[in-house]
């Protein structure tokens, strides 16, 4: 289990993370989302042990990831920009990984063939997408207990995204925990089971994605007379839009209870629609007054 408690981090006068706490169970695929500068990469760097937090601890299986280098044997971090020294090849990095981790060479060779990566070619001749593939494959072939992916799909073409998503989903099925940050919320939605929204260094909202999506719904209602917003004061409205006698609302709350409450206002028509992860993110941000 990954447990982060009261993480705080400042870069000079700028407070990047404030009191961030997370608990991610084994086998979960956790989507970390937020606007640019929200602190996603910093949080991932702290979890991976690259960066020391000013306050709080990150424990993977009750071991500190910063202080205890050996716990990082079960942790793989793929940053948003991979670094490979000039002149090095996949083979030279693979050799390093083989000597540091329980590296699955047959699996790696197979993936390299699948993703058309020449292990002896130097990285200088690789495109951004190829470097990205290589970095992800190197990471998954150590069979990590925790995989951290920053800007997971950056530079990858759709087919490669699909294949990598499948690899991660399979490994999560085997008990691997993945924390994935991405701006592609539609893709995260397809295989994340939990999520966290970071905003200005704080966790704005987090939890089980399905539960959260059930908790927030879009309601469209039409009334005989033009309704006023005051009519819905008893509801937790995240977004309100009216056009004549038709009202569109995003409301937080148990679907049946909200529906029953709206029915009491005698609408001519009432539709309930589920929200996507992307919409959920946007409504959460809007409801906190953050402009996107």
């Amino acid at each position: 289990m990954l447990k982060a408690e009261q993480i705080a981090k400042a870069f000079g006068a700028k407070q990047v993370l404030r009191d961030v706490s997370l608990e991610i169970p084994d086998g979960a695929v956790f989507g970390l989302v937020g606007v640019n500068g929200a602190g996603k990469s910093t949080l991932l760097r702290i979890i991976s042990g690259v960066m020391r937090s000013d306050q709080g601890t990150v424990m993977l299986d009750e071991q500190d990831t910063y202080r205890n280098a050996s716990v990082r044997k079960t942790l793989a971090f793929v940053p948003d920009e991979s670094y490979f020294p000039s002149g090095s090849s996949i083979a030279s990095v693979r050799d390093l990984y083989e000597s540091l981790y329980a590296f699955d060479r047959p699996m790696f060779d197979q993936y390299c063939r699948q993703f058309e990566l020449d292990q002896n070619q130097t990285f200088a001749g690789f495109s951004k997408g190829m470097k990205r593939r290589a970095a992800i494959l190197l990471a998954v072939c150590i069979h990590p207990r925790l995989l951290l992916l920053d800007e997971a799909y950056d530079g990858l073409e759709p087919l490669a995204r699909l294949q990598i998503r499948k690899i991660i989903a399979d490994m999560a099925g085997d008990g691997m925990t993945a924390v994935i940050s991405s701006h592609s919320l539609l893709e995260l939605e397809e295989f994340c089971d939990s999520f966290g929204i970071l905003e200005s260094g704080r966790i704005l909202s987090s939890g089980d994605l399905l539960e959260k999506k059930e908790e927030v719904n879009k309601y469209q209602a039409a009334f005989e007379t033009v309704p006023s917003p005051e009519m819905f004061q008893d509801l937790d409205i995240m977004r309100y839009k009216s056009e004549g006698r038709v009202v569109q609302m995003v409301i937080r709350g148990e679907r049946e209870k909200v529906r029953a409450s709206l029915e009491k206002k005698h609408p001519i028509l009432l539709d309930v629609l589920p929200v996507t992860f992307e919409e959920l993110f946007i409504y959460e941000m809007e409801s906190r007054g953050t402009s996107l």
């Binding site: 960066m51 942790l75 793989a76 390093l96 540091l100």
Partner: protein, 490 residues
Amino acid sequence: MIRSYFRYLLRSRRTLILFFLAVYLILSLTWMTYDGVSVPGYGFYTSAKMAAALSMGLTFVLPVLVFSPFQKRSGCDQYFSLPISRKEIRIASLLAVFSVIFGYFLITVTAAWLLFGIGYVPLTLLLGIHAFMAFSVLSMCAINSYLFLLGNSWIDGIVILAAYTLLPFAASIGEGLLISNLMAGKHALALETHAQILSPVYTLMANYAALISRNGWLYMKFSLPLFLLSILYTVIGWFGLIHEFDERRSERAEMISDHPLAYPLIIHLYSLLCLLVICSSCISSHDPSFLILLVLLLVCFVLGQFLYRRRLEISWKQAGIFLAETILCLGFCQIMWSSRCFGMADRVRLDEGDTLVYEYSRLADEKDLGRGIIGQETDHGAYVSFQLEIPTDRLNEYQEVLQILEACRKTAVDQWYERRTHELSGYFQISSKTGDRTFNQYHFNPDLSLSEEELKRISGYCDVVVDDFNHDLEPSEMPLAEFLKLRSTW
């Protein structure tokens, strides 16, 4: 873990290592063949010297290469997330750099010994050279890695490394100029400065040269104080590196290099050095160009701040600090001038070295050799000169001339601090000598001449020569007594 990372470093940079090896061998072998075949043992000496120079050069290049990933955000992400501690990365990196550089040296110098040194260079000396170079390489790698890591980007790291490496030599030049501007009789070029001992390269290579000199090609002594200084620098470099690397905050990568020992200190050290030289020149000569130099230095200060902060601006605080530094330096130089360099200008030791040497040369009136004349009046002038060498263990026997010459020196010092013009042609020089080494040199061009009576007394201890070039005498140079006798016939 250390072995894994060590092996990775060497393997991933195999091409570069082979390239440097080729360069190293080509350069060393080229020098090895220079007179190496015809003069026994010389080939070994030149190659050992060249190999040491190249090794020292590589101790600057390779630490930059292995530690530069940690000054990039992506490099920190890549390596600090590996299951290897920072301590292990540091040790493996240093070991890799050391192995490459010392490996090159070992191969080259051993080859040179086998080709040109057997029979001329003892095996024990060869082993000694290897042991000392192993220490030197390790020391320089630790120091240079530490200095490089003070920067937060590889460019800043290189600038900081270069600035600290050059600082002792810049300080040495500054020391020479400051003393020559404020101390009577001292000339920058003839000064023995001491600031270079702040350089680890100097302390190591001075002793390395001394070690090599044992084969008879150079005559230098191994200096224990310099060796102790080398150890001190190594300890500072080692612990500095531990602190800078093991405790490094990875968020520093690619930020401005605001470490207290990085730009903030370097800019002020160089500014102070330049200010001291400019202010001493101003105090010494009352030269109005002082202001132009000061403005130029201010521009350099702003450029330094630009390099540091990536912004071309100067705040009131920085301008205030610069002004305060200028006032401080002006005040310090004025105190040095007023106190005659804290009394050092008047405090001269005559008994240092084996020999005390006085040299005098003056264009004088041929009718009165005690009256100096200026260059334009040469139609009735004659050059009077002498070089008096006094063994320092027999100073008592020379008391008579010492009184005359020391009085002359005192007058020369007084005149210098009174800023009296020095139009007379000639000079008055004092120095100490031990073997071929000349030190404690004082050079004056005073507005005074020794009287004929004094010259006569001096001629009792050494040859005082008069060169009367206006008369067609053959030869034109003659001893003082002969000249005086001849003159009495005119």
